[in-house]
Each structure stands twice: as C-alpha cells, then as structure tokens.
C-alpha cells in the first residue's frame, strides 16, 4: 500500500540512488511483422515494437520504444508512412529509473486503421527533447502541457511556457517527487453558530 512515494516529500532519495537501468532496446526482432508499422519504422535503429490488444475489441495497436536520438526521425518517418493524424503527446515520470522521463506520441494512420504510439525516454539531468511541433502543429499545446506538469523541455518549441498552471508557479506537479499538495482535513465539530 504505502510503497509509492506520492504523498511524501521528506524521504525522496537522491538521484544517484537510482540503480535500476531501463532497457531502451532488447535483442529481438527489430521491427514488427505488421507491414504498415514496419514501413514506418524500419529505417530507425534501435526500435522495439510491440503489438497490443484492446479490451472488448478486436482492434490492436502498436507501441514502439524509440531511442531519444532518433525521436524526430521516427516521428517524421511515421508521418511519411501515412501516420498523419496527430492524436496525443504525453510525458510520464518513471521515478527511480534511469532515464527517468518518458515522452510518447500517439499517431493514427487513417488509411490502414493503425494506431502507433512512439515512446522514448529522456534522463533527469537533461530532460530535453527536440520539439515535433513543426511536424504536427497540434503538438504545440501538448508539449507545453508536458513542460508545465513534468518539466520536460522541448528544444525549438516556439512558445514553451506554462499552460495549465499560473506563470509564477514553481515546480512540476506531476513529478513523483512533487507532493500531491493535499492539506490535512480537520473536522471541527461544534463551531457553527446557529
């Protein structure tokens, strides 16, 4: 139950305690047997593609783990291969793992009815990734959201400012070492004037 550090700010370990290495690529068949996804990512080195079933559905979708160096290349390759429908971009914090931050982009191929989620990792000490907002205009706000809530910086972004939180806000609340910010609830019975 209490194994997650979500509510605690005191016992946050130093970053050098992080030992668990996150594998970015494994020695497997590099690309999936799905021809559409293979056409998109076949040229990108170090890509690991997995196919996932959806719940209560026959449809499947693909996730691809991409090295951060070829992030833009992979997005461009996917777009050129028909994944032209931008859906989503997100970031996540894999606390106590290195590299720590995950960024993913969710693309659709309308012709072939494929969904492809490209995921990559960036380290804590340099959480930067080149922007893709010049490839997909819609990524603009999503990258700002990722920057606002998780502090991932997108180099080359035209307007990388806070989007959801006030400008003067400090910290990135969706990081795992950021407290939820809950205030303790006290029940003060009998203080109501009747």
């Amino acid at each position: 139950m209490a194994d997650e550090p979500v509510n605690k700010t005191d016992d946050v370990p130093e970053m050098d305690e992080m030992v668990e290495e996150h594998a970015t690529s494994e020695p497997e068949t590099p690309v999936t047997d799905d021809p559409v996804v293979a056409a998109a990512l076949g040229e990108i080195p170090g890509v690991l593609v997995t196919e996932h079933d959806q719940a209560s559905s026959d449809a499947t979708y693909h996730q691809a783990i991409v090295p951060s160096e070829s992030w833009v290349d992979a997005v461009v390759a996917a777009k050129d291969a028909g994944f032209t429908f931008f859906i989503d971009l997100y970031a996540a914090d894999h606390f106590r793992e290195a590299p720590r931050f995950e960024v993913g982009i969710n693309l659709l191929n309308r012709r072939e009815r494929r969904r492809l989620i490209l995921r990559t990792r960036v380290p804590y000490d340099a959480p930067t990734l080149p922007t893709v907002s010049h490839i997909f205009a819609g990524a603009n706000f999503y990258e700002r959201e990722a920057f606002d809530l998780l502090g991932v910086e997108f180099t080359g972004h035209p307007d990388l400012t806070r989007i959801l939180l006030p400008d003067e806000w400090e910290g990135h609340p969706l990081r795992k070492d950021h407290a939820v910010g809950a205030i303790p609830v006290e029940f003060k019975a009998g203080s109501v004037d009747l």
Binding site: L164, L165, P166, P173, H178, G181, V185
Partner: protein, 161 residues
C-alpha cells in the same frame, strides 16, 4: 392589495422587512459557472425547474448588475484571483452561494491545483452540498438564503447599512 378593493388602502410594515422583501424578490445571480455544477445551475434556470418562479432567471454576465454570486464548481489556484475580482466588482448588497462540494471544501480533489473551499477567497453566505447538487438542492439553498436575508438586518457585507 390593489385590485381587490377600489378604495385606496395602506399596509403596515417595518422598513427592514420591506427592504429585505424587495431584495429577495429579484435577486439576480452573476453567471459564474466553472465546472459540472454550472451545468446544473443552467438546468435550474431552464424550463424544467424554472428559477424564474423566484425572480432569479436573469443570470447577469456583468457582475455590476448582479446581487448573488453562485460559485458553481471547483476553483483552481489560477481562477481564484479572477473570482475575487468579480466579487469585488459586484455592487452592495451582495451575497455568495457556494454550490457543490468542490466550491465548499475542495471536494474529492485535495491537491495542489484547487483552492480548498471558496471561503478562503470570498465570504460565503450559503453552502449547498452535493456533487453536483441537483436543481432541487440548489433551489433549496437559494430559498434558505432568501429566508436568511428576510430574517436578517439591512446591511452590506461590511456590516454597515
């Protein structure tokens, strides 16, 4: 009175009762819809529940013309200054009704983003529970506020007439 008798008549009351009666009978709310509660607040004003029965269907967009601010929904840290400004722009006498769990206490979202109760920002006269409160709950809260005004003294929020 008028229409019943052709003779001119008169009515005895106190100034206080007369003023309070006038205040409660056309209490125009400021439209301060924020989240889910705003939808129920609009539903209260719509045909099915008809807030016009209490002379309150005129949701004013301008705070200058409003008497009652119904804070309908969760108030974020970013919204709190705006809320206070709208409240300050309202003319006296003015009242605040905190609609729903989020506006009253922060509700289920006890986190960094929300103001934990709108009474940290503006003085609240009436709290309506529920998530979101149905139109009946809101009307009950409004009528309770009317009763509070009828029973109270004539004064503004600073305590002076």
């Amino acid at each position: 009175m008028a229409g019943i008798s052709s003779e001119p008549g008169f009515l005895l009351t106190t100034v206080e009762k007369g003023v309070n009666w006038a205040r409660t009978r056309s209490m125009w709310p400021a439209s301060f819809g924020l989240a889910c509660c705003a939808i129920e607040m609009m539903g209260t004003g719509a045909a099915h529940n008809d807030l016009a029965r209490f002379g309150m269907e005129v949701f004013r967009a301008s705070p200058r013309q409003a008497d009652l601010m119904i804070v309908a929904g969760r108030v974020s840290q970013k919204m709190a200054p705006v809320l206070r400004q709208v409240y300050d722009q309202m003319a006296e006498p003015k009242w605040v009704l905190s609609m729903g769990a989020c506006a009253s206490t922060g509700g289920m979202f006890n986190n960094y983003a929300l103001v934990q109760g709108v009474d940290e920002v503006v003085p609240v006269d009436m709290y309506v529970p529920g998530c979101p409160p149905g139109p009946q709950s809101l009307m009950h809260g409004i009528l309770s506020l009317h009763q509070l005004i009828m029973d109270g003294e004539i004064r503004n929020s600073t305590g002076v007439l």
